[in-house]
């Protein structure tokens, strides 16, 4: 059978048209590279549009005490000191610049009285820090970047007469394979969803910005796109993944009606004054403030309420603890029988703000509950429960350039698909700024990499043929298994056995079941031809979901402690020894996941010096603390 394959040549191929991908593409194009942007869905529909709360950047517009060092500290604390310190540092330092840049692209953030970008409170952030537009910040971000791309295309049009001459968007196109020459990236192979036609993009540098993996879970705020494609592509290309055991369960997803279970209720609801109550009407979060956070969070309702108006003299309400803490607290309340009928708790703004303020500050939440659940949030409380939201783990990258580790060159990663920046738990709002900061860096360095390259790697025909065969295989298995059933089974395994609270026995069981699923996925079938066939698309995505799930399960079994987005019932404590370790996944020859321990990079002294000893003592081992003491005495 002969198959038509469309061929294109580019300097940089960016896979993913979310915030990270678009920012990378802009940068690569500004560096003069011919750039392609690939997206599974239409242009401007990537997951980033769903982000609600805001983008964290220490601009200090609302509270002038804020600066990058405070932001850095918050990020590290939120990630339980497992973050790659360098990434957290770059992120905190560069985020304001990246946000300001958006304004020059036409973004319109909400303003403060003196006309600057307004910032709002969010869980885990010491000061109001999130630049936002109502509760549709992600939409603003992606639309702005999209329009910037369009404006660059217009420049190219004016110059060359073609909009696509330097930057082109391949919408509704899925990449299924990265092609290599030796250890060097040579191109990317995929198909147009619309027609099922294949496409081969030859390019020496590929930037992965494919987002997360949440579709492997039943209850998730993520869309169908989040099948871990980037993670899997990187693994298969020889890169490594880190921190895959850390998944963020957002504490407040909708729980009713069943069909929308998992859809996100933005954290701004709490940042703006919403409180959590159990079915007894008690504000239970006060019982769940862990010791490490004691001195920053209020212990009485009165103090907590005062904080909204006078944050300098009061401690913050415990509803604003980092997400992992809140998610676990809700989970325990529900388990203890103090949940609502549908298995959630109440999140209430109606008694705390006038209706008009609610509709102004949380318009899309109002809209969402009104239309989907028929609940008027200005009058009744919402019902919420944890939902799988974000994967902290991802491609192990060089912090400065975003280049993937492992044995592959020319592969870069940014955004949710990259790992390390958020440690064991991401603070709300840090993702959007992460996309911009590291998206820009990845684009920049991908461009620089192509410049330094002596010779362009070539795609081997055999590899392309193999990719074609893999892609077509499900279509030829007329009696193969239904991909939707397989996906449901996978979701059941992950949701039930590798969920918020994990146990050794369940994890072992999960690994066994994943092996069984692997066999079944190898036999998946799809009827109905190549043209826009969602069954076929899912069948191809399944193998990515599976390999990524395996990484998560393996790493979760290995890490014998509880930290951030990873909670082991059998090891409920955080262990300073484990803090020094990253778990790194790679694929071996046979295509099996291989796990390795790797020491965490050591924080630079001056950064370490930003923290108090009393705080560090909760995270670090005794030797590390001794070193810390040595540094501080030396400094004095």
């Amino acid at each position: 059978m002969t198959t038509r394959i469309e061929r294109h040549h580019y300097d940089v191929v960016v896979i993913g048209a979310g915030g990270a991908g678009l920012r990378a593409a802009i940068e690569a194009r500004l560096a003069g590279k011919k750039t392609a942007i690939i997206s599974k869905s239409l242009f401007g529909k990537a997951h980033t549009v769903m982000a609600e709360g805001g983008a964290a950047a220490a601009m200090g517009n609302v509270n002038s005490r804020d600066n990058w060092m405070v932001h850095f500290g918050d990020t590290m604390r939120g990630g339980k000191f497992l973050n790659n310190f360098r990434m957290a540092e770059l992120h905190a330092k560069e985020a304001p610049e990246r946000i300001w840049e958006l304004e020059t692209y036409g973004a319109l953030f909400d303003r403060t009285k003196d006309g600057k970008i307004s910032q709002r409170n969010f869980g885990g952030h010491e000061y109001p820090r999130l630049a936002h537009v109502g509760d549709r910040t992600g939409l603003e971000l992606i639309r702005t970047l999209q329009q910037k791309i369009v404006s660059l295309q217009q420049e190219d049009f004016a110059e060359t007469g073609s909009y696509d001459s330097r930057i082109r968007v391949f919408a509704e196109t899925t990449i299924t394979e990265l092609l290599l020459e030796g250890d060097r990236i040579a191109g990317a192979f995929g198909y147009y969803r619309e027609t099922g036609e294949f496409i081969l993009l030859e390019a020496p540098a590929v930037v992965l910005a494919t987002g997360g993996v949440g579709r492997s879970y039943k209850v998730t705020s993520n869309s169908w796109e989040y099948t871990g494609d980037g993670h899997a592509l990187a693994l298969r290309a020889g890169a490594t993944l880190i921190n895959m055991e850390f998944l963020q369960f957002h504490p407040t997803g909708m729980v009713w009606p069943p069909s929308v279970k998992g859809i996100l209720v933005t954290e701004s609801v709490r940042g703006d004054g919403g409180v959590l109550r159990n079915s007894d009407g008690k504000r239970f979060m006060f019982d769940y403030v862990p010791d490490v956070f004691r001195h920053q969070y209020a212990d009485t309702e009165e103090e907590a309420d005062r904080w909204y108006t006078d944050p300098d003299n009061n401690r913050r309400p415990p509803e604003l603890l980092p997400r992992d803490e809140v998610a676990r607290a809700i989970n325990s309340e529900v388990k203890a029988g103090r949940g609502t009928k549908s298995g959630g708790v109440f999140l209430d703004v109606s008694t705390r703000m006038p209706a008009e303020t609610i509709t102004r500050r949380l318009p899309s939440m109002y809209h969402q509950f009104k239309e989907l659940a028929d609940v008027d949030i200005t009058k009744e409380p919402m019902e919420v429960g944890p939902t799988c939201h974000y994967v902290m783990g991802g491609v192990e990258v060089d912090p400065d350039s975003g280049a993937a580790f492992g044995h592959v060159e020319g592969l870069f990663a940014a955004g949710e698909v990259s790992g390390g920046m958020h440690g064991s738990n991401r603070l709300g709002g840090n993702s959007l700024s992460d996309l911009l900061v590291f998206g820009k860096r990845a684009g920049e360095h991908a461009a620089a990499y192509t410049d330094a390259l002596p010779k362009r790697p070539k795609v081997a025909t055999a590899d392309v043929e193999a990719a074609v065969d893999t892609a077509l295989a499900p279509l030829s298995r007329e009696n193969g298994e239904n991909p939707y059933t397989l996906q449901q089974d996978l979701q059941a395994v992950m949701g039930d056995l590798v969920g918020i609270i994990r146990r050794e026995a369940e994890l072992t069981d999960a690994l066994k079941r994943l092996q069984e699923l692997k066999v079944r996925v190898a036999n998946v079938g799809a009827a109905g031809g190549r043209q826009y066939n969602p069954g076929w698309h899912l069948a191809l995505d399944l193998r990515n979901m599976l390999v990524v799930s395996e990484c998560t399960a393996k790493a979760a079994l290995e890490r014998e402690e509880s930290r951030g987005g990873h909670t082991r019932e059998d090891f409920p404590k955080m262990s300073p020894e484990w803090r020094k370790v990253n778990l790194v996944c790679s694929l071996d020859e046979a295509g099996d996941v291989h796990l390795e321990r790797k020491p965490l990079p050591k924080m630079r002294d001056e950064l370490l010096g930003l923290f108090k000893r009393s705080e560090l003592s909760k995270y670090l081992t005794d030797e590390e603390l001794a070193e810390f003491d040595a540094i501080t005495t030396e400094a004095n």
Binding site: F43, V150, Y163, R168, F170, A171, T173, T195, E197
Partner: protein, 268 residues
């Protein structure tokens, strides 16, 4: 951005759906109501304007808005406040200088345009229901490009509203003395509504401040804009209400003038 250029031409056909519309609700009711309502009003107004009688109650100084200002030689004693420069020929309405502008104002009003494009011209009769016409050029060329004169019409209408206000004010007398009856209330309500309709006009909203780029530099105009915007959101309702009050006022004056019933007086 799109993949059109390289996509093997998949054919650019729309989905083959036989039904012209699949709407299952009774979408034809709103245009029908508009059609009946507007037609009835236009017929009533035409008849009244060319009746040339029963438009003035001398005793109480009630002048119907359809005849204001009364400018022909035929105007009955006391009704002509601004002289009678026009001859009395039956085709010339008493308010021949203002009616055309009022007609123009309403014809080019953004709301009425919507209403008659939908209900009379069927372009489109309702959303997602096919247009009744083969060709369509909208308001890009003659004659519809003249819809853009709405701004002039608005200025004219504002002046005419002042005249109507004057009519309502002078009506507060009975003979030579101050007087006040039900007819005054009718006239005043009508005038208030006319003002509300006129001020809520989109052109007005634009002129007061909508045209500005920086509201913050013009706080007073911004206040006006906020006010006009609030009214503007009710422009459709006001458009219908004023049709109602106009017809009602006119009918009341006609009835009193013809002696079908007498005005209810509160003072004098």
């Amino acid at each position: 951005m799109t993949t059109t250029a390289t996509r093997p031409d998949a054919g650019r056909a729309r989905a083959a759906i036989a039904a012209r519309t699949l709407r299952t609700d009774r979408w034809w009711i709103p245009p029908l109501v508009t059609f009946v309502g507007l037609s009835a009003w236009v017929i009533y107004a035409t008849v009244r304007v060319f009746m040339h009688k029963w438009y003035y109650v001398d005793q109480y100084h009630y002048l119907t808005p359809f005849y204001s200002p009364c400018l022909t030689d035929r105007c009955v004693e006391g009704s002509a406040e601004f002289g009678t420069p026009l001859p009395s020929f039956w085709l010339i309405p008493e308010a021949a200088l203002t009616l055309p502008f009022l007609l123009l104002f309403r014809l080019t009003c953004y709301y009425y345009r919507k209403a008659y494009y939908r209900a009379f011209w069927l372009s489109p009769p309702a959303c997602a229901v096919p247009d009744g016409h083969k060709k369509y050029t909208g308001e890009t060329r003659f004659p519809l490009i003249f819809q853009n004169v709405h701004r002039y019409a608005f200025y004219a209408a504002a002046i005419i509203s002042v005249i109507n206000t004057w009519d309502a004010v002078v009506a507060f007398q009975s003979g030579e003395k101050f007087g006040f009856g039900l007819g005054n209330i009718v006239l005043v309500i009508n005038v208030v509504m006319l003002w509300a309709y006129t001020v809520s006009c989109h052109s007005c909203r634009h002129i007061v401040a909508g045209r500005l780029k920086h509201f913050s530099k013009h706080p007073v105009r911004y206040r006006f804009w906020v006010f006009v915007s609030k009214l503007n959101a009710k422009h459709m309702q006001l458009a219908w209400i004023t049709l109602g009050t106009l017809a009602l006022t006119d009918f009341y004056v006609m009835a009193v003038s013809a002696g079908w019933f007498s005005d209810l007086r509160f003072i004098n």
